[in-house]
């Protein structure tokens, strides 16, 4: 490694507490109080919550008018269909820490477009959407979306005509929100799995519209190495 390489800052020092945490955990596992697998599962669960369940909820709603009605009326109940129990899910059994159990699905129409923000902090429906993106928590997004929503949306590449009502949803109390966008053209006859793929996280926050061919699994840009090494 070259000398001018800058390391990301890290705490290069082991504290007594770090050692104690490991010692307690190892003894507990050895005594059979819990298993290593249980411990891994919980840690990974907390780190890998993602927007997939909400994407599936939207796909189901597009396919089944009855389910759409349920989703709009009772988001918590509808979430059960995609495997998310807001009330009994780990770890607190009434929503993940600092989350509440009121979940509202805001239905777009061809003339109404919802977009979600939390001006007071960064409330986000974590049990069903995972952790919020960094930009969602910035003052830039939080302050400006309520004041200049069309300007902010166009910074995301979303320009909407004047006959569409833009409705900003400010998530300030106990409800958490997601957007149910309009099903795009060109998806006729698609399966639930196909539809789920095009409902990306940004569509669920409301800063993007779903479109055929644009999925969360799109190939990532690949950069060629500057100094390739020939094996």
């Amino acid at each position: 490694m070259s000398d001018d390489h800058k390391h990301a800052p890290m705490v290069d020092e082991v504290s007594e507490f770090e050692i104690l945490e490991i010692a307690v955990r190892e003894l507990a596992i050895e005594k059979g109080l819990f298993t290593q697998e249980d411990h891994n599962a919980w840690t990974e669960y907390m780190h890998t919550l993602g927007p997939l369940p909400a994407a599936r909820l939207v796909a189901k709603a597009w396919l089944d008018p009855e389910f759409k009605k349920l989703a709009v009326e009772d988001g918590v109940k509808a979430s059960l269909e995609v495997g998310i129990d807001w009330i009994k899910t780990m770890p607190t059994q009434f929503g993940t820490p600092s989350d509440y159990c009121s979940f509202r699905v805001m239905e777009d129409t061809p003339t109404l477009k919802h977009v979600v923000v939390c001006t007071l902090c960064s409330c986000y429906p974590r049990p069903i959407l995972g952790q919020s993106p960094e930009w969602y928590r910035t003052p830039n997004y939080r302050r400006r979306l309520v004041r200049w929503p069309r300007q902010v949306l166009s910074e995301f590449g979303l320009q909407l005509s004047e006959d569409v009502e833009v409705r900003v949803v400010d998530s300030n109390q106990k409800s958490r929100f997601t957007v149910l966008p309009v099903r795009p053209e060109g998806t006729e006859g698609w399966t639930e799995d196909q539809l789920t793929e095009i409902v990306t996280r940004d569509c669920l926050i409301g800063v993007a519209l779903p479109k055929p061919g644009k999925t969360a699994n799109d190939p990532r840009p690949i950069r060629k190495a500057l100094k390739p090494y020939n094996h």
Binding site: V76, T92, F94, Y100, E162, D163, V166, R167, V168, Q173
Partner: protein, 123 residues
């Protein structure tokens, strides 16, 4: 230890576990003063300690779009006063009512948010 005042620090978890919050406050509010479709105005109350009522809403008229749940207001709950629940309303504002310079071209744009009953008065 036995001389310490006894305070139940886990009363919320005991109440909400397996039921949900705000679900655990259902049925505790005084009857709702407003209904869907009512025109109301956000009051400009003092907020000395804690509030979740945005400053930019104060004094603005809006329409009740839903009665969403019953819960203690954030102003009380922040201090663990949870014995007085009230109705929470989802409210729709016209952007042009919130911001005097909002572009007229987009006069149909709106904003939706939730407030507890104490912050609302009939318009």
């Amino acid at each position: 230890m036995s001389n310490k005042p006894v305070y139940d620090r886990e009363h919320h978890v005991k109440k909400a576990t397996g039921i949900g919050d705000p679900q655990c406050f259902a049925g505790e509010a005084t009857p709702a003063r407003f209904k869907v479709g009512d025109q109301v105005r956000v009051r400009d109350l003092p907020d000395l300690f804690y509030t979740r009522t945005q400053t930019y809403l104060r004094g603005t008229e809006c329409t009740v779009s839903a009665l969403v749940y019953e819960s203690p207001a954030a102003e009380d709950e922040a201090w663990d006063n949870t014995d007085k629940a009230e109705w929470f309303y989802s409210l729709v504002f016209k952007q042009s009512d919130l911001w005097s310079d909002y572009p007229k071209t987009f006069g149909g744009d709106t904003l939706e948010t939730e407030l507890p009953e104490r912050w609302l008065e009939s318009a």
